[in-house]
């Protein structure tokens, strides 16, 4: 990569490698399929237009995560989001393997957005409490509180399907 801006090949590879992961991050913020696709498109547009060099693919992926979180935060602050289509109309797009997976998806999407974001970054992105606090620009204690509340809620909604940890 050595100091060059992203090439077409690197860009396509970054889209293929990250599109689902970033879409899920955006979805954890918006709970809305179309809004999440918008955010995703905007994130990759920023990558394509970014003029500074990346060290390697890992650097690109971390940059994309941070931009996706920031774009999602900006998006949900916009008054325009209040005019968009809710998730209930869109979740039939996904093909779940079984009803338990669908139950978990519905349960996470029913959490307050601040909690679903933290839960997603912890359980899917494997980020630590400290890393989540850094990327969301909130305190460690706030992350722990949101995680605790979200887990309690998921336990209530899912019963034995969700383990106490």
């Amino acid at each position: 990569m050595g100091g060059e801006i992203v090439t077409e090949c690197e860009f396509i590879s970054a889209v293929e490698r990250n599109n689902q992961r970033l879409f899920l991050i955006a979805l954890s913020f918006t709970h809305n399929h179309t809004d999440s696709e918008d955010i995703l498109q905007n994130v990759f547009l920023k990558l394509w237009k970014y003029q500074k060099p990346f060290e390697d693919t890992s650097h690109i992926d971390k940059w994309l995560t941070r931009v996706c979180v920031n774009e999602s935060k900006n998006y949900i602050k916009s008054p325009f989001r209040k005019r968009s289509v809710p998730l209930e109309n869109a979740d039939s797009k996904y093909q779940f393997e079984n009803e338990y997976d669908y139950d978990l998806f519905k349960a996470v999407m029913s959490l307050p957005k601040k909690q679903s974001t933290v839960i997603h970054l912890f359980y899917y992105e494997d980020l630590s409490v400290k890393e989540i606090a850094d990327v969301l620009k909130i305190k460690d204690s706030a992350v722990k509180t949101r995680l605790h509340r979200a887990r309690t809620q998921l336990k209530q909604l899912l019963g034995d399907e969700w383990n106490n940890e």
């Binding site: 077409e8 860009f11 396509i12 889209v15 599109n19 689902q20 879409f23 899920l24 979805l27 179309t34 809004d35 999440s36 696709e37 918008d38 955010i39 995703l40 498109q41 905007n42 990759f44 547009l45 920023k46 394509w48 237009k49 940059w63 941070r66 931009v67 920031n70 774009e71 900006n74 998006y75 949900i76 602050k77 916009s78 008054p79 325009f80 209040k82 005019r83 968009s84 289509v85 109309n89 797009k93 996904y94 093909q95 779940f96 393997e97 338990y100 997976d101 669908y102 978990l104 998806f105 996470v108 839960i119 997603h120 359980y123 899917y124 494997d126 399907e161 969700w162 383990n163 940890e165």
Partner: protein
């Protein structure tokens, strides 16, 4: 245990093929730029020749030229060709609102959106009410900002309620990109 359960469930949730296709097509924008280097130079010369016209713009309070660039699906477009109208408004504290409206060929309103730099707390305090009025043509306490320098990024998705998405809005080109 929960992590495996979570990852397995969410592995089936992904963006549409069409959305991925749109992202992969973004590479066309830079290609076009490089392919037409000569054309860009010619255009730059023409631009330099007509820059004096900006004086006229200033004397007409910005009415001659808008500084709002419209990017539709990743490509800068002429808003008029796509029946898109974008306007910037500013409130007394200098905060900006961008309103986008798209019209059908028969002149009827197809959809629109707005984008603001207001904080969530401002919106919660009721600012959203004022902002929403703008879509209905009620300017209220806002003033049109004819000299605004804005990039409006619109994705060509129309939601069920007829609204179009402004996926981002870079005001005065000062937005941080990390």
């Amino acid at each position: 245990m929960n992590k495996e359960y979570y990852k397995n469930a969410f592995s089936k949730v992904c963006p549409s093929e069409e959305a991925i296709e749109r992202m992969l097509c973004m590479t066309e924008t830079r290609k076009k730029t490089f392919r037409h280097k000569g054309l860009i130079i010619v255009l730059a010369v023409i631009a330099a020749l007509v820059c004096g016209t900006f004086t006229v713009n200033a004397t007409t309070d910005g009415k001659l030229f808008g500084n709002i660039r419209v990017i539709l699906n990743g490509e800068e477009v002429n808003p008029e060709e796509h029946n898109i109208k974008c306007k910037a408004y500013v409130d007394e504290e200098g905060r900006k609102i961008i309103v986008e409206e798209t019209y059908n060929p028969d002149g009827t309103l197809q959809g629109g959106g707005l984008y603001s730099g207001f904080s969530e707390s401002d919106i919660e305090k009721g600012m959203f009410k004022d902002v929403d009025k703008l879509l209905k043509g009620d300017v209220g306490s806002f003033k049109e900002d004819k000299n605004a320098n804005v990039d409006v990024n619109i994705t060509d998705i129309t939601t069920a309620d007829g609204a179009r998405h402004i996926s981002s809005c870079i005001i005065d080109n000062n937005e941080s990109e990390e």
